[in-house]
Symmetry: C2
Subunit: 449 residues, 2 copies
């Protein structure tokens, strides 16, 4: 009855891989038959690319559309590239306008035109005109509204008239006589009240409507804060445009979390585990190149002290310790700030207090660890002045790391750059440069005659 | 009508900080009065610690419980420590058993005992006995079940009898005559069907029930895959224990995402931006210590080649380049694997294909960048054999980085250790050691006579 999804997903994957390795595409098709579109999507995403396209050929056009909707990025685009124009056109037949809009934006232009001509749906056209990261793109159009002035009785009669009520609906949108948004009323409260009770007395008018152009990340925050299941989407005049349900919001939160993890490693576009080697290598090369630049910058700093290192080779042995500790301490602070910004927990009014706290933590840990590091290094090379330089450099580097860990993301955020993307690289550049420069600089001043 | 949450949250924060800085706690209290419990929780979380405890004193016990439930970790514990026993006992009065169970586990033992004595609620006691990371802890107990054999008519009559239906309810749980789970029926489909229609013909029996001890992360995956709003929770015999609604699942997904970001920087416990300096420094010191160990390991490797460096100081200048590029390339692979494991996308059946792909990407990028790096280094030090050594070391390091990026998280996952926690440290250790060893080793063999 109840299942452990990882087991079933892994089982499906294993089964299909077995079918394909043994050359029985017929068996694979039989296995697919029992799966939901979302499960097929997950399966395709986990399949090495050759297998994925083999399986794709046996999937019926009725399911194709739903499977493509459940996928994103390059996995989706790859499958579209491996589909015939005829199949793609047929695949959107069973989808909602919103889903079609989402999907056809990834279709080749000629096919998109054809679909728009065939469907000639004003809803689809307006859905296509919305920005992909706003409430408008999340909303469903299957809305039921009731007037504030109607009674429980008339609402129940109205609901009964419908052939089938929209799915995932726990409440109705309440409007005034001009169709403007007023609030929400739970279907359950309509059900449990007397026939003559007015909707205006049952409705909850503290539930805010979502505006069409609200960014999806803010929509998610509102849903989280208010524990809502659904909300109305309104235009600037307060007219009802659609509704957003929590299941769509969940996908947004999951995608954002995914994005946050990938972007910090420079992998924003890499949604496909099995993208072709050349494509993948090319994309990652950019990130490696950026980092190579900062690595050479650090090398250049070290190069300034070649003469010092020539005299005391132990400096070369110990210098990675300072840079590495600075990088680790700085990225702890950076992580907190990036998260604080994403959750709207840090703003100009509390950034000062936070910076002060982080500086204190950095200085304190700098002092503690510099003592330990200085002792180890002093003992290792029987040279306690060397240890002292290492300790001093560590205090400087950890304090600067805290400063950079707070200021870099705040600055990037203010300039509209995602701190999760560029923060790490910039921070490492700062901690490397300061780490090497302080250690080798102190040594040059105090240890070289 | 519609709001931008970041603006209102920031505005509240600014307002309250202004109130407190100007010493008018009375004004602050007036501002709090307009806010929901969740909003107060968000506000408290963003307040520097002194301000936070000042504000806490003016919050009424009716709201206290809800605010504490909306908070986690050390922010919550800190506020509990700053509350009187009397207030804490009163604060749980307005909460559901599930919420009380969640909350009292953070209360001091004596207060917890008292609350258990006062409430003497079997539901609370059983809720407390469940593991914190299972479906049992997420579920609500306000369940309405209907029999499979009942008619639309009788179900509507039953619903109308209720004073108030549970919140966020879009469907009812259907059971057989023995009260065992059978499926779900949407309230909307009950509403739109004729009086004599049987529930058994309307219910959806493909919706799986969640078992009591299913880990919360799996519950989240099931909800995502099936686009559900609510699901039944059953015991081993199939009897109904409660229901889980999507709004609880959303919190789980958000918390997991949060955890994934924090744990990779060794900040798993650091939920409070404004935790006291000493507490914060002590906690982070552990992570710095672990990393110091690996940094000294790298230093030790360099130390093995002191004689070589003494002869060619340029090696010291260039060696961070190899280690840094290895670390970056490896962490790209590592990030993909950690994410793939979390989303159940990688398992034993496809790990081989993925490893092969990553090795190819690593070797390819190793070749490309080693050519560039070798040329730059050769030109810089007018020593093309040195450049050649650097290039060779880079190919070796990037290939090993890909290997380690795949194998380390798979190994940790198999041993039940969260790869997000330990993966990064282990990977950097490997890439540092191999980077320094291959570069300095090649130089010792080929450049030193």
């Amino acid at each position: 009855m109840s299942v452990r999804p990882q087991d079933t997903a892994e089982l499906h994957l294993e089964q299909i891989m077995y079918d394909l390795e043994n050359g029985t595409l017929y068996d694979a098709r039989a296995h697919l038959h029992d799966l939901h579109a979302t499960e097929i999507a997950l399966l395709l995403r986990s399949l090495p690319i050759d297998y994925r396209y083999q399986i794709w050929t046996v999937i019926s056009t009725e399911v194709m559309g739903e499977v493509l909707v459940a996928l994103q990025g390059e996995v989706r685009v790859g499958l579209i590239d491996h589909s015939s124009a005829k199949d793609l056109i047929a695949s959107v037949n069973h989808l909602e306008s919103r889903e079609v809009a989402d999907l056809v934006s990834d279709f080749p232009a000629t096919i998109r035109e054809k679909i728009l001509n065939i469907q000639s749906d004003s809803r689809l056209e307006s859905a296509l005109s919305y920005d992909g990261h706003t409430a408008a793109r999340l909303m469903r159009l299957d809305v039921l509204t009731v007037k504030k002035s109607s009674t429980v009785d008339s609402v129940l009669a109205y609901l009964r008239q419908q052939d089938k009520l929209p799915s995932n609906m726990d409440s109705l949108i309440v409007v005034d006589d001009n169709g403007k948004y007023e609030g929400m009323v739970a279907i359950s409260s309509v059900l449990t009240n007397k026939a003559a009770v007015l909707i205006s007395s049952l409705m909850n008018d503290t539930v805010e409507a979502i505006s069409l152009n609200m960014p999806v990340s803010e929509v998610a925050l509102i849903f989280e804060r208010k524990d809502m299941i659904s909300a109305a989407v309104v235009n600037e005049q307060g007219g009802i445009e659609g509704r957003i349900t929590l299941d769509e919001v969940l996908d947004v939160v999951r995608e954002e979390a995914d994005h946050a993890v990938l972007i910090s490693a420079g992998l924003d576009e890499e949604h496909d585990l099995f993208s072709p080697v050349l494509v993948s290598a090319k994309r990652r090369a950019v990130w490696l190149g950026v980092n190579l630049f900062t690595a050479f910058l650090a090398s250049w700093v070290i190069g300034l002290f070649e003469a010092t290192i020539e005299e005391i080779v132990a400096l070369a042995v110990l210098m990675p310790v300072v840079a590495s500790m600075g990088g680790i301490a700085g990225s702890q602070t950076l992580t907190l700030v990036i998260r604080g910004l994403a959750l709207h927990q840090i703003s100009s009014s509390n950034a000062g207090s936070f910076l002060l706290k982080e500086l204190s933590v950095g200085a304190l840990n700098g002092l503690v660890w510099s003592t330990i590091v200085a002792s180890v290094a002093g003992f290792w090379f029987s040279n306690y002045s060397l240890g002292l330089m290492l300790g001093g450099a560590m205090v400087i580097t950890l304090s600067c790391a805290a400063l950079a860990g707070v200021l870099i993301p705040l600055f990037l955020h203010k300039r509209g750059i995602d701190p999760a993307l560029a923060g790490g690289v910039l921070l490492t550049t700062v901690t490397d440069v300061i780490g090497f420069m302080s250690f080798l600089g102190l040594a040059t001043i105090f240890l070289i005659n």
